[in-house]
């Protein structure tokens, strides 16, 4: 009864064009009123919890802010020029480079939507500019972005490790090869698609041009160095690194490149100016420019854009938490999982059912919430059937990746829609071909446990644990 109310209402609300966030929230709140004796006050409390207790999700607005500065400030243009100079002569080269960028970023970020936000907002525009169809670009990035939870470190893996008491380090190791493999598969697919579709490639511009664009792009390239360096160098957590990136992007756009803001059009060195003179003049102007950019219209417009995209995403996520809360209080996932336990399946069939269940859950809930509910139920059965807990964990994570791309609740879809300004239907269609790749990959991960288990076992044997 509760399940029916919840889902019928959700689809009805979406059908008549209600914003997704409100559709999720309204169907949840009505279900609570109709089918439980929870009070409206505690629903409000839950809403506040959903908006105020997910620190890691703050990486999303931070990266959106930093990329807003990068793209408006012309920094992105220079980065893209450089990327085209590097790999533009390979068919599909830019798309492959973007996948690589996603993998690199995934290796430091624990979150999938944050990966899409960080990389996508820069490279999608770049791909379109060099002649890729926008849907191709968006599909590639939304998919490559899911690597964020497979390539370690990963928040989802940490959640699994603590829910099942397996080692987080081993989980991380286990995600390494599958993550690289999925990245590889995506790149091969891009190459094939590029051949078939005749995607653009440009003649190699020469080393001189390459170095030139590289030097101009340095300010933007440093962003990646700063983000990765501050995490690996023990300076910041991934969320903090996102904030550092935002501040850096503001400084480089306003003070460095001066494409926007109070110093717009001000030359670093005027004709006939001495080096020292220019140094003092710049220093003086830059100090003044910091407070002045607070009232600068262009800077404010960039921040306003970031506000808009961040708000949309965070409000959906908050309502998605409420939706998951209803599923949990009504014990819908429990009931399904327990009936699977009752079926008494052999290992191979059990894994099929687990995959189907997780894919289904991924359509409606957020990964951490699914793992917290499902892992403790499925884990003991898997162990009984002789399935390695680490292997089960990787299967679950890959399922969660797919869940990020499936409607109605798919965070990567929302982020992609946000940064391309396209409709949800458009984004879903763009992701579909790549999603089928992920499904094949899931089959591979499920039935070839060695892909996940080889590395952690090898490393353990080296360290003698």
């Amino acid at each position: 009864m509760a399940t029916a109310t919840l889902f019928i209402l959700l689809f009805l609300c979406m059908f008549i064009g209600m914003p997704i966030a409100i559709a999720l929230g309204l169907s949840s709140i009505v279900t609570i009123l109709a089918c439980s004796n929870d009070s409206l006050a505690s629903v409000a409390l839950k809403m506040f919890e959903a908006t105020s207790e997910h620190y890691t999700l703050l990486a999303i607005p931070f990266f959106i802010l930093s990329s807003a500065f990068l793209s408006t400030g012309g920094v992105a243009r220079r980065l893209i020029d450089f990327a085209i100079a590097c790999v533009g002569h390979i068919r599909g080269g830019l798309a492959m480079a973007s996948v690589m960028a996603c993998m690199l970023f995934a290796a430091v970020s624990g979150s999938s939507p944050a990966t899409v936000a960080a990389i996508g907002s820069i490279v999608i525009a770049g791909m379109v500019r060099s002649g890729y169809p926008q849907s191709f670009a968006a599909g590639v990035i939304a998919n490559a972005g899911t690597l964020g939870i497979l390539i370690p470190p990963s928040i989802v893996m940490l959640v699994y490790a603590s829910a099942t008491e397996v080692s987080a380090a081993r989980m991380f190791m286990a995600g390494m090869i599958p993550g690289l493999m999925m990245g590889g598969i995506l790149m091969i697919a891009i190459y094939i698609a590029a051949r078939i579709k005749g995607l653009p490639s440009q003649p190699f511009p020469g080393v001189g041009h390459l170095m030139g664009t590289g030097a101009k792009a340095m300010g933007g390239l440093m962003l990646i160095v700063i983000v990765l360096g501050s995490i690996y160098g023990g300076i910041a957590s991934p969320t903090e690194a996102a904030a550092v990136a935002a501040i850096y992007a503001w400084l480089i756009a306003v003070l460095g490149y001066r494409d926007i803001g109070p110093l717009k059009g001000v030359a670093w060195r005027k004709e006939g100016e001495s080096l020292i003179g220019s140094g003092f003049r710049n220093l003086f102007m830059m100090v003044l420019a910091l407070p002045r950019s607070a009232t600068d219209k262009e800077v404010n417009k960039v921040i306003g854009d970031a506000v808009k995209t961040s708000l949309m995403l965070l409000f959906i996520i908050a309502n998605a938490f409420l939706f998951a809360h209803v599923l949990t209080t009504e014990r819908i996932p429990h009931a399904i999982a327990e009936s699977i336990v009752g079926m008494g399946l052999p290992p191979w069939a059990f894994l099929i059912v687990v995959n189907l269940l997780l894919l289904l859950a991924g359509n409606f809930m957020e990964p951490s919430a699914i793992l917290l509910i499902m892992a403790p139920i499925l884990f003991p059965i898997a162990v009984q059937l002789g399935i390695d807990p680490i292997h089960l964990g990787i299967i679950m994570v890959v399922n969660m990746e797919i869940g990020m791309l499936t409607p109605p609740v798919g965070l990567n879809l929302f982020v992609t829609a946000g940064i391309t300004g396209q409709s949800m239907g458009w984004v879903i269609k763009a992701c579909l071909p790549w999603l089928s790749l992920l499904l094949i990959f899931l089959g591979l991960i499920t039935y070839v446990p060695e892909i996940s288990l080889w590395l952690p076992e090898y490393i353990d044997s080296l360290k003698g644990y």
Binding site: S42, L45, E49
Partner: protein
């Protein structure tokens, strides 16, 4: 319809608290079939630790067991349990909690509409860090992640450490990359949160306590029918006693599992070394004496004598 009791907690079902909740559910439903319906929600499925007490006051959760430092804004008295080196071992903790003063503390949250039913153990806290901590001087200049509590902040400041707050999702990476040097946790938390995989040294300091209080709302409790309340209370107390047995075993098992994993070196403390730490951190007692109450601190100290 049966009376619904929702028991919300934030840990897994296989932990002492989780097992205690399930035992309670079983006992009550055996003894009051059809009259009371207990539903246990583990893993913060219903509400997180920061919101569960508020949800209880709104009448949407009936039982919870947050850690004692979560009551900081409801009463100052329970902070006595956060003071460093106050209890010598878990036996002393148990003696104090069962004493008249300890049982009286359960009532200290009544003014805010809550009621303590009993204490459930997690265990004594250990110091973990990237470098070995032997003497208090080793903690100087080191950054420690703490849970929300003024006392815990003061405790690390006493030895020249830098207390920091970060949510769990961030802490793991921060510890791994050495952006934060160390933290404090009972054995079972170190093991379940995998901190031993990123903290090469754990000093067996037993310097503080991390326990929980099983709590209900006064309004709900007083509203229970007279023939039901005593049965619920009896079942809860039995479940708590059972949970505490499990906790003692789990502490031993997890400590051993951490040693066996080989990922972290466990450093034992001699009596003399321990005394140095006690001397270094003891000023914190004085600092919070007015807030907590001197008689309360003295009563806790007295529990160290058998």
């Amino acid at each position: 319809a049966p009376i619904e009791i929702k028991f919300a907690h934030v840990v897994a079902e296989n932990t002492p608290k989780g097992k205690m909740a399930i035992r309670f559910e079983k006992l009550v439903e055996e003894r009051l079939p059809g009259k009371v319906d207990v539903k246990v929600y583990p893993n913060s499925q219903l509400f997180g630790d920061n919101k569960v007490l508020e949800a209880m006051l709104l009448g949407d959760v009936q039982l919870a067991a947050p850690s004692l430092s979560k009551f900081q804004k409801y009463t100052k008295q329970l902070q006595v349990f956060d003071l460093p080196f106050l209890f010598e071992d878990m036996e002393a903790v148990e003696r104090f909690q069962q004493s008249e003063v300890g049982q009286g503390l359960l009532k200290s949250v009544e003014r805010k509409g809550l009621m303590g039913i009993g204490y459930i153990h997690n265990g004594m806290k250990q110091l973990s860090a990237y470098d070995p901590l032997k003497a208090p001087a080793d903690a100087k200049g080191k950054k420690f992640r703490i849970q929300t509590s003024d006392i815990l902040a003061a405790q690390f400041e006493q030895v020249g450490g830098i207390p920091l707050k970060k949510p769990f999702s961030e802490v793991f990476t921060l510890l791994q990359t050495k952006a934060v040097d160390g933290t404090e946790n009972p054995w079972s938390n170190i093991y379940s949160k995998k901190f031993h995989e990123v903290q090469p040294y754990i000093t067996e300091s037993n310097h503080g306590l991390l326990d929980y209080m099983v709590v209900t709302s006064k309004e709900f409790w007083m509203g229970l029918p007279d023939d039901i309340r005593p049965v619920v209370e009896k079942s809860l107390k039995e479940a708590i006693a059972y949970g505490n047995e499990v906790a003692a075993e789990k502490t031993k098992a997890d400590r051993q599992a951490i040693i066996d994993s080989g990922r972290s070196k466990v450093i034992a403390m001699t009596d003399a070394e321990r005394q140095q730490w006690v001397e270094a951190m003891k000023p914190v007692w004085k600092q919070f004496e007015d807030e907590i109450g001197k008689d309360l601190i003295d009563a806790a100290l007295a529990a160290n004598q058998k």
